[in-house]
Amino acid sequence: MGIIEAKDLVHEYYRRDEEGNVESIETAVDHVNLSVQPGQFISILGHNGSGKSTLAKHINALLLPTEGTLLVDGKDTSVEANELSIRKNAGMVFQNPDNQIIASVVEEDVGFGPENIGVPTEEIWTRVEKALKSVGMWEYRTHSPNRLSGGQKQRVAIAGVMAMEPKCIILDEPTAMLDPDGRKEVIKTAHELNRTKGVTIILITHYMEEVVDSDYVYVMEKGSVVMKGTPREIFSQVDALKQYRLDVPQVTLLADELRKAGMDIPAGILTREELLEALCH
């Protein structure tokens, strides 16, 4: 059994006018089935409004299913008694680093989550130390988060989630606001946590380059999962992806263009090393 099991998951948003009358109903997640094994690194792609964030918010019970079920580590999110244990097991990191910082000192910020779920004080500090070390921000423990770069702020946000020792971390466009360096830092940190601590990672992004090292990629469109496979399987389908408003990494696109122009280059090239190899041999 997977750590995340979505079965025919549906989420409808009800839009109401000022008097509270329902004006419209929007099906943001439409019968999604998803099974994520512990320790996997999963990415979710999809056009704006395709339902990625709505799906993600179900995984830590910020939203509840309208229909269908979602199990996190075997626990049904729609059962109220499970809420605390689900929040402990699935941590979220959002797009805007500034909206996630609460305290005025880095270590207090990281300690906030565990304190909130009732971890005893002495243990909080050992967890904070471990979390900050695992994202490479231990030297900054006494700094003010407001004076960190965007990439550093996001790593502190990840440490804050880590300190709750979740089995699973959901990153919802964690790099959208970052410069190239910060982007690399955050993706590298996510992979390290996945590799060394076995944390299950769900990454949502609009940057195709960031998902090439995932185990599986899911593509959403209008609330449904329409493609699923390894990055190589997904990115060999350039035309299908474009139809879903997506793209491929720049080198994959270049390789594809060269192949279309008659050069002998294999499909599904994902990195610049692979393209170099294909060109030079």
Binding site: E23, A176, H206, V251
Partner: protein, 283 residues
């Protein structure tokens, strides 16, 4: 017609003990009708710089001339300046505040003194240009997906038909097709109406594909200023300051280093493709 920055410096929180020198003696000239990209790592001063251009932030020292007039002159109409130099903020949440998306987009034109009918037309036109989904025109700006908020914020500014359009990371959070649509729209507005575009971006690929001139900010001042090919030729220096060149530029350098006579300065997929086809022929 131009924007001139004359020895502009800016310090946040002067006298608080937490002073941050965000701009350091910036001298720049932006000509009418240019398409400029501004890049730089986080905290290098990009947002601070562009907020000076429409008078939202006033320089601690130095001055700015818009079409020859000193915008800090006591008789200068800075309210008018703000409608001529339109600004799409880095975080769309900071500029969406009306109860519906449509009202939000109408706000700018109404504020410019247009009557309700004209403002409504402008709002329709702008929302259609940014391909905002029609069924959400009456939604609250807070009930939108991330990319929809971004489109609404952009529509709100282009509805004012500014002469200079500043966009601070307009494509953050947009899906790939949406990035191309918005940048294509901006390019089209530039080409057709001749408006000046200033685009702040963290995407080296987008900047390489769309702008004519890149200004690289570092520690509060321009470090490089030139055409994309010239600027990205300094990719090693760019990496030292937290930036990068587009992915294809690296590939071209790899090929060049292995002895293939390609032009290592190609910055777009199209340029790289032409160069590779030229050198490798039809193997």
């Amino acid at each position: 017609m131009s924007l001139i920055l004359d020895h502009v410096s800016y310090t946040y929180s002067v006298g608080s003990g937490y002073e941050v020198k965000a701009l350091n003696d910036v001298n720049l000239k932006i000509e009418d009708g240019e398409f400029i990209g501004i890049i730089g790592h986080t905290g290098s001063g990009k947002s601070t710089l562009v907020q000076h251009l429409n008078g939202l932030i006033q320089a601690t020292s130095g001055t700015i001339y818009y079409n020859g007039a000193d915008i800090y002159d006591k008789d200068y109409d800075r309210k008018e300046l703000r409608t001529q130099v339109g600004m799409v903020f880095q975080y769309p949440e900071h500029q969406l505040f009306e109860t519906t998306v449509f009202e939000d987009v109408k706000y700018g034109p109404k504020n410019q003194g247009l009557d309700d009918k004209q403002a409504t037309l402008r709002a329709f036109e702008a929302l259609q240009k940014v391909k905002f989904p029609e069924e959400n025109y009456d939604a609250s700006p807070f009930e939108l997906s991330g990319g929809q908020k971004r489109r609404a914020a952009i529509a709100g500014v282009i509805a004012m038909k500014p002469a200079v359009l500043i966009l601070d990371e307009p494509t953050a959070g947009l899906d790939p097709k949406g990035r191309d649509e918005i940048l294509g729209l901006i390019r089209e507005m530039h080409d057709k109406s001749g408006i000046t575009i200033i685009l702040v971006s963290h995407s080296m690929e987008d900047v390489a594909n769309y702008v004519d001139r890149i200004i690289v900010m570092e520690k509060g001042a321009p470090l490089f200023d030139g055409a994309p090919r010239e600027v990205f030729a300094n990719y090693k220096k760019l990496e030292e300051i937290g930036l990068a060149a587009p992915q294809v530029t690296y590939l071209m350098h790899d090929l060049y280093d292995q002895g293939y006579p390609v032009d290592p300065q190609a910055t777009t997929v199209e340029e790289a493709k032409q160069e590779i086809l030229r050198v490798f022929g039809n193997r």
